[in-house]
């Protein structure tokens, strides 16, 4: 009982309820939705697919959670995914025999470093130049795809290196490898924000940057590093995307990912007004989005209306999170009950 009371007060309860509803729906209406199979030591099934497919969005959402907590936004993450994919693809090279141009680890590190630099550029514009976050990151949102195209010579680079594919489609301990990447980034982020006072500083900046600066905290540095970190997360997501599709496509890699990632953060209960944030909430948010997508596929809903279905569910979850809406709904319920008597 105590557990439920704590849960009810927690901000996570509504995202969890939404996810549970989606899963419950599938339990009744999608045959074999929960079936897990073991093939050659690898787990397969819808649930595993959801975890695996949502991992790039989860990574972006972790970075964006911190950005949004400072009352900022980073809409360039999708383009940074494309840049990271482009860098790693060019460095590994499209040799048909799969012989990489340089050691794979070095190529991946370079890609993540370039992505982090892109994030630092955003951070510089926001924290030092004082640009509004949406404008600052809009620049990279547009320019990023161009950079990715230049990197790949405006061609789709196909990769044949099997070791690199492991990052996207490999299995470890019976589970898809990207899940472990997400878990590692989540764990490190959680420790760094909650076991040091960085989390407190981020929230303070989001609530009131002026008062935070007056308290002797370097608010500009906090802002700068938050955007750099968002770039870092997008860099790792880029590796997964590139390894998964075995190619780098400057136009389509990570296309519209930023919207799903922002949505995941908001569904997870972190307000766009900044302040208190929840990393786990954003992960749940990403799972909601992916579960929804999978459900829509499972039902063979025509692609023309699948976006509408998605929008409607997102709308419902957002309403569920509004205390005002819930109070009103509860009011309706009570009034109806009285009428029935």
């Amino acid at each position: 009982m105590q557990f439920f009371l704590t849960l009810k007060r927690s901000k996570l309860v509504w995202p969890l309820v939404a996810l549970a509803c989606l899963l419950l729906f599938n339990l009744f209406f999608t045959p074999n939705f929960f079936r897990l199979e073991m093939k050659e030591g690898h787990l397969y099934g819808n649930l595993i697919d959801i975890l695996k497919n949502s991992s790039p969005i989860m990574l972006l959402a972790i970075g964006l959670t911190l950005v949004i907590a400072t009352r900022g936004i980073d809409i360039s993450v999708g383009s940074v995914v494309a840049i990271s994919a482009g860098v790693v693809a060019v460095l590994i090279g499209g040799d048909f025999a799969g012989v990489p141009n340089m050691p794979i680890f070095a190529a991946m590190a370079a890609a993540v470093a370039v992505a982090t630099l892109a994030g630092m550029w955003n951070g510089l514009l926001v924290s030092r130049v004082g640009m509004q976050p949406i404008i600052a990151t809009l620049i990279l949102f547009v320019a990023g795809r161009g950079i990715a195209m230049v990197l790949t010579n405006a061609q789709i680079i196909w990769l044949y290196n099997k070791e690199f594919f492991f990052v996207g489609s490999g299995y470890w301990l019976g589970l898809p490898f990207p899940i472990f990447l997400v878990a590692a980034v989540l764990a490190v982020t959680a420790v760094v924000t909650r076991r040091t006072s960085i989390g407190l500083f981020i929230e303070a900046v989001g609530i009131n940057p002026k008062a935070t600066r007056f308290s002797g905290i370097n608010a500009k540095n906090i802002l700068f590093w938050v955007y750099a970190f968002s770039g870092f997360c997008a860099g790792i997501a880029g590796l997964i995307v590139c390894a998964n599709v075995k190619s780098a496509d400057g136009n389509n890699a990570g296309n519209l990912f930023e919207l799903d990632a922002i949505l995941a953060v908001v569904l997870g209960g972190t307000s766009l007004n900044g302040g208190k944030f929840s990393l786990v909430g954003s992960i749940i948010g990403a799972l909601i989005i992916q579960t929804l997508t999978t459900t829509i596929y499972a039902f063979n809903i025509a692609p023309e209306i699948s976006q509408v279905v998605k929008a409607m569910v997102v709308y419902a979850v957002s309403l569920l999170q509004s205390p005002k809406f819930r109070a009103r709904m509860a009011g309706l319920w009570v009034r109806k009950a009285v009428v029935h008597e």
Partner: protein, 502 residues
């Protein structure tokens, strides 16, 4: 003044979970009078106003407007009944024009479109009626705070108001602006309007109010004609304490002597054009140095330069005899300074964070992000200050925005005291808080001084400055003038310096 009240609130009670906000409170308002409601924070003043304006519904009691019972359920409904309110925090849109602010939502139209010319003209007429001559099309942000306040009043009045509620309208105005506002209030009174006036300033209350209702702890303490109520009686009734206790503690503090010691802070020729003329200042350990001056005289600007918020163009700062380079609040913090801003809400506490998080913020900032204080230690620090400063809060994990103004101020003080600063700058620490909390904060200042902390104390209330300061500098028009010590620190000297400027 007429004999029949336009408004009568009878035996109003209102409970909030755990708090009896109002208990059987009576209130009457006559047309053509200014009626002040006084009381400490938490006495029930704002709850009374909120019941009257329909924000809250009373649990019991009745409200009569004229002879008719009314039950307003929203501020809009109250406004339609003729009850208009101007709040402490001006809630206008600074980026819109004066006229737009006055007529927002009810712009005059012609053929379905907004009739800008009529709107601007009517705005100018309304403002002229309040003795303010401005163009309707100028943007609100270009007006002084006082004029903005008048615009708020103009908006409240435009809708056939019979009752005007002014909720602490003077807390951000300087002397001249208060006089301007009071002129307008007097004019409205003579036109038969009933004005309910809430303030913390005793002098202002005596200047403008005809009648006063005193509340204490949510109960009705009494209704008096201000002319018949000596100041000391008013304070006694608000505090519910004996006279002796109050007068005893309002004598000179132990800091009557200027301390001649190696200064902790020495400022030489620090200045910034348009902000403050170059000035020298020394503050010694265990010394309280007061800064007196009217609003806009450069007191706050001085503090901001010292604390590194604004960058000085000239001059040097020495901390404990050594040249200190202070270009940001962070460097000031590392040099052992603390600064409680006058703007508690915008530059002080972080409302959405808990009391604990607010208190440890600066300490954590000084220690660095990675020297994280364990949760237990944080709790210990927070609980320590909650106890020693008597911060009224359910616990350390309550969000600061839920506390009253006085308690928020104490949280802000605790944030700096937690860093154990060698120099603490207090900019109007007693603004907008109740008499009891004011006294506590002044006692705290004196105690900190006697424990060896150097304090720079800014206040608009000369009485406070005289009581606390060992040395007092007077500022006027962005220039620092004479310093007084010992018995020379008195109201006459301050007033003379401000008046004559030497």
């Amino acid at each position: 003044m007429s004999d029949t009240p336009i408004l009568e609130m009878k035996r109003i009670s209102k409970d909030f979970p755990g708090v009896k906000a109002l208990s059987k409170v009576d209130f009457r308002l006559f047309p053509g009078e200014v009626h002040a409601v006084m009381g400490q924070n938490g006495a029930g003043k704002s709850t009374l106003v909120k019941v009257l304006t329909g924000v809250h519904q009373p649990d019991s009691g009745e409200i009569l407007l004229g002879t008719k019972a009314i039950h307003p359920t929203s501020p809009l409904e109250a406004q339609k009944l003729g009850i208009s309110t101007v709040y402490q925090e001006i809630n206008l849109c600074p980026n819109l024009s004066v006229a737009e602010n006055i007529f927002i939502g009810r712009q005059p139209r012609r053929a379905g479109l907004v009739d800008w010319r009529t709107m601007n003209r009517r705005a100018e007429e309304v403002m002229a009626g309040l003795n303010v001559h401005i163009t309707g099309s100028q943007s609100l942000s270009s007006c002084s705070i006082a004029v903005q306040q008048m615009v708020a009043i103009a908006r409240a009045l435009d809708t056939e108001a019979r009752i005007l509620i002014l909720d602490e309208p003077t807390s951000s105005l300087d002397e001249g602006e208060v006089a301007q506002l009071f002129q307008v209030v007097s004019k409205l009174r003579s036109e038969g309007l009933a004005v309910l006036f809430i303030t913390h300033f005793l002098d202002q209350m005596y200047r403008i109010a005809d009648r006063v209702t005193i509340l204490r702890n949510g109960t009705f303490e009494g209704e008096y004609l201000t002319a018949d109520l000596p100041k000391i009686d008013l304070v006694t009734r608000m505090l519910g304490k004996e006279l002796a206790e109050f007068t005893e503690s309002s004598g000179r503090g132990p800091m009557g002597q200027a301390v001649v010691r190696e200064p902790v802070l020495s400022v030489r020729g620090l200045g910034l054009r348009g902000s403050i003329a170059p000035f020298d200042l020394d503050v010694g350990a265990g010394e309280v140095v007061g800064l007196a001056g009217l609003l806009g005289s450069g007191r706050t600007e001085m503090a901001r330069l010292i604390f590194g918020i604004d960058a000085a163009e000239t001059g040097e700062v020495f901390v404990k005899g050594k040249r200190a380079r202070i270009h940001s609040p962070r460097q000031a913090l590392l040099a052992g300074m603390g600064f409680c801003s006058e703007d508690r809400k915008e530059e002080g506490v972080l409302g959405d964070l808990t009391v604990r998080e607010n208190i440890i913020l600066a300490l954590q900032g000084r220690n660095g992000a990675f020297a994280y204080l364990p949760a237990k230690k944080q709790q210990q620090i927070a609980d320590g200050f909650i106890q020693s400063l008597r911060i009224k809060t359910p616990d350390a994990s309550t969000e600061v925005k839920r506390l009253s103004g006085g308690n928020q101020q104490k949280v802000l003080l605790a944030r700096w005291l937690a860093t154990n600063p060698t120099l603490l700058i207090l900019d109007e620490p007693t603004r907008g808080i109740d008499v009891g909390a004011k006294r506590e904060i002044m006692e705290l200042i004196l105690n900190l001084g006697s424990e060896g902390m150097a304090l720079l104390f800014i206040s608009s209330e000369f009485e406070e400055l005289i009581r606390c300061s060992g040395r007092l500098a007077v500022l006027k028009d962005k220039v620092k003038f004479t310093e007084f010590t010992g018995d020379d620190i008195n109201e006459t000297n301050i007033m003379r310096t401000i008046a004559e400027g030497k």
